[in-house]
């Protein structure tokens, strides 16, 4: 019985009889399409079948079946993740949640929403903003990524410096456990103090405990106005010192992004960024609030920056121009592939005051190993995205890149940081988990996992590396 999933024909026949033909895809072309997320260079795994559920009972049936035959199940949103979390390395079933994409309720009075987990984030943004409500998390993949994926990986984004990441907004979940039973955690109350917080345990569980099917989210009022500014600096140090100073002085921008000189030049080649290109580092800022507050804040920031010898503070009045700047910023990571053969995107999060040191360390690590790096990051919350770049893909380069990533992560931890700010662990960083968590905590994680998923079918091989036993 156990080896049933190894005969993919038998598997898809069974699944078709459970769900009908429309919801089961298992031709080689489908399997290839679902074999990785956005970290294809790192790992790929062919699933044996892809399931496209449209209702919760589909998922219950599949999980019951998968538990009975010990078939791995990998839940998947847009497949845009940067951790390998949706890569089905053990084969089995991929659960594509994108057809469960209904916004079920937007409650203006309570300022909450209830959605199916396959809703695309940008569509959700549009829907709530039409009602003058605001859902701040905004990972750069927001045009495609799903809310379910966001919750599973604790997604962040530029706006999180002021507003916090996805977990700050999750109030309750509906999820299917591996035995097919359905649980409803939390609720839609803003305050909750009821027993173990299963909602927040599933949030960030990366599909290793259960399949998230519905999400209750907290919303906030939509700021009346926004304004974008770019600060040009003559050194990366100055830019990163400004980050702490601006916030310390009392203005928390809605977005405070660090963009290296090489990163802005790349963005500029895609869409012109209307500032001088000969700065050594840049800060992209968005202020939000009432027009009066924005005006006051922007003047305050301008004063601070010029006092600290920033080269230029450019404020963009035209909202369309501002929108284009942020759209271009979102393209940064794929843009790297225009000039490089491969880009490994890291996701270190350090205490904000250590941001300058982290930026400096990344540059030094790159220089000492002779491998190009490019830094961008949500500097306002200390989240650095160093990109380790391959001009050519050679075994020697791969070794250097591996070493660079290891040194960057070590440095992040030494500075009191964490190995992932918003991407999650998945496959990509599982080997570093023990460095941060220690053996005892990993053992605890495994016991929690066992309580949810005794058969070990849920997204196996993720978060911590598998050891022999």
């Amino acid at each position: 019985m156990k080896s049933k999933y190894q005969h993919s024909n038998a598997l898809s026949k069974d699944l078709i009889s459970l769900l009908g033909k429309e919801k089961v895809k298992a031709e080689p072309e489908d399997l290839l399409a679902y074999s990785s997320d956005a970290t294809r260079y790192f790992a790929q795994g062919m699933p044996d079948a892809v399931i496209l559920p449209t209702e919760i009972s589909d998922i219950s049936k599949v999980l019951k079946y998968a538990t009975a035959y010990e078939i791995p199940v990998t839940p998947r949103g847009a497949g845009s993740g940067l951790s390998g979390g949706a890569t089905p390395i053990k084969g089995g079933i991929v659960l594509d949640m994108k057809r469960m994409n209904h916004i079920l309720d937007i409650n203006k009075g309570n300022m909450t929403a209830r959605v199916e987990s396959g809703v695309v984030l940008a569509n959700f943004h549009r829907a709530v903003e039409r009602q003058r409500l605001f859902y701040p998390p905004d990972p750069q993949s927001m045009d495609v990524c799903t809310l379910g994926g966001n919750v599973a990986c604790r997604a962040g984004g530029p706006h999180c410096v002021k507003y916090g990441t996805t977990p700050n907004y999750v109030l309750g979940l509906e999820a299917v456990l591996p035995d097919g039973s359905v649980i409803n955690t939390g609720g839609i109350s803003i305050k909750q103090s009821t027993g173990y917080n299963i909602t927040q345990l599933l949030t960030g569980s990366e599909g290793t405990l259960a399949v998230i099917t519905k999400i209750n989210l907290r919303l906030i009022p939509l700021p009346a106005a926004r304004k974008t500014a770019i600060i040009v600096c003559d050194s990366p140090q100055l830019a990163s010192e400004l980050v702490s100073r601006i916030i310390y002085d009392g203005t928390v921008p809605a977005v405070l992004e660090y963009v290296s000189a090489s990163a802005i030049m790349l963005m500029n080649s895609f869409n012109p960024i209307p500032v001088t290109m000969d700065g050594k580092a840049y800060l992209f800022i968005e202020l939000d609030g009432s027009p009066a507050v924005i005006l006051e804040d922007s003047e305050e920031i301008k004063r601070t920056c010029l006092e600290m010898k920033a080269r230029e503070v450019k404020i963009f009045e035209d909202p369309e121009q501002a929108a284009l700047i942020w759209k271009t910023r979102r393209k940064y990571s794929p843009l790297l592939l225009r000039v490089m053969k491969r880009a490994v995107l890291e996701d270190i999060s350090v205490p904000r005051d250590k941001f300058p040191e982290m930026v400096k360390a990344v540059e030094e690590i790159g220089a000492s190993l002779g491998i190009p790096t490019s830094i961008s990051g949500h500097a306002g919350d200390g989240n650095v995205h160093p990109a380790v770049l391959y001009p050519e893909v050679t075994p020697e380069m791969e070794k250097k890149a591996e070493e660079a990533v290891r040194l960057i992560i070590r440095k992040g931890l030494d500075l009191g940081g964490t190995i992932s700010g918003e991407h999650g662990i998945g496959l990509h960083k599982s080997q570093f988990m023990e460095m941060e968590f220690g053996q005892e905590q990993i053992a605890l994680l495994k016991r929690i996992k066992y309580a949810f998923d005794p058969g070990g079918i849920m997204n196996p091989g993720k978060i911590w590396p598998e050891t022999g036993a």
Binding site: K25, E27, P28, E29, D30, L32, A33, Y34, S36, D37, A38, T39, R40, L52, A78, G79, S80, D96, K98, R99, N101, V120, A122, S141, D143, V144, F270, K331, Y332, S333, P334, L335, L336, L337, R338, A343
Partner: protein, 401 residues
Amino acid sequence: MITGIDDYAELADKCSHCSLCEAVCPVYLADLLETNVARARVDIINQTLCKKSMPVTRRVRDIINRCLICTSCTQSCGAAVPVHEIIITARHALYGGRRQNLFMRHFMKCMVENRGITGLPALLLLSAQKLRLAPEGFPSVKLRTFDRRYYGTYLPEGKKRAKVAYFTGCSTNTMDPDTGISVMKVLAHNGIEVVVPERLVCCGIPSLGEGDIETVQKSVRNNVNILSVLDVDAIVTDCTSCGMMLRIEAPKTLPEGDPCQAKAVRMAEKVFEVTDYLNTIGIVADPGPVDESYTYHVPCHRGWTPGMNAAPLQLLANIPGLKYKAMEEPEKCCGAGGSFFLDYTDLARKIRKRKAEDIANSGARVVISQCPGCRSYLSPVLGKGQEIVHPITMLLRSYRY
């Protein structure tokens, strides 16, 4: 130059798998199956045709055919993977120009050579449409084509400000000559001398979509040889697809070093969409007031000159009283995709339905779009009293001709 599919392996490998193409692919957004999105298509072509590690199955053919060549994925790709070129080249490799059945191939051949549907095929189509046998959304034809009415040089009204050549594509020539006539009148009214060259053929974009590179090259050579020797300031077109073909794709279809290729490059620099061109040189004839509201459906083959995307709105902003009412996602495809709506009727209708809802929600009476394919495919789903026209038609109305 678009050549063998093997040459695309390296470009296909450039895909970072970021999946941002999921936001723009009309087919994926209707199917919600990742197998049908650019990221996967490129992978599948790479594995089956370039690296040959997987067999070419019927499913592979369907995945390659199930694409509108709207180019939205290419336009939005951060890593600059030329997805639509890869798909076109894959079609070339799979079918060698014989993707369609014999009847359709013959029909297309007549169309390419006569710049549209004329003669016997036109009569057949008209009868079929009368008997309601023709496919829904297929444009009607006019027996008095544009090229029978206009050829040679036309002097401007008033002081001459510029001289342009006007390239009319198959649709304007035989299905919608009225748009062509509007263009002629608006240009003349604004002091622009217009040359209407003779012996032009189809721009080549329908054959390009088929992967029929040989026919494309024939069309391009013919047109380049005529257009490149004209002494004009610009070559304007009302059709965004013809324009993209002439400006962006034509030089890529000929081999480097070919004397005609160099001519194609020089010609391409002069090609402009007509509203973009009028904005660049400015209009001198003042439009009269028009009490009307309109919305803009942006054609897929957009953005091939920097000013183009904003051009129709900018031009029509000159008309007093005319109100613009934006629709949601104006760049979302209508589903026509050349002849795609004939091959994938249900899918195309599903894509069109969403567009129709956006148009209805805009609350505008008139829809403008520079793509003749969009205009004829969207016509049947417009509300009562609504119409879809080329932006130039709107401008001409304000001149009260």
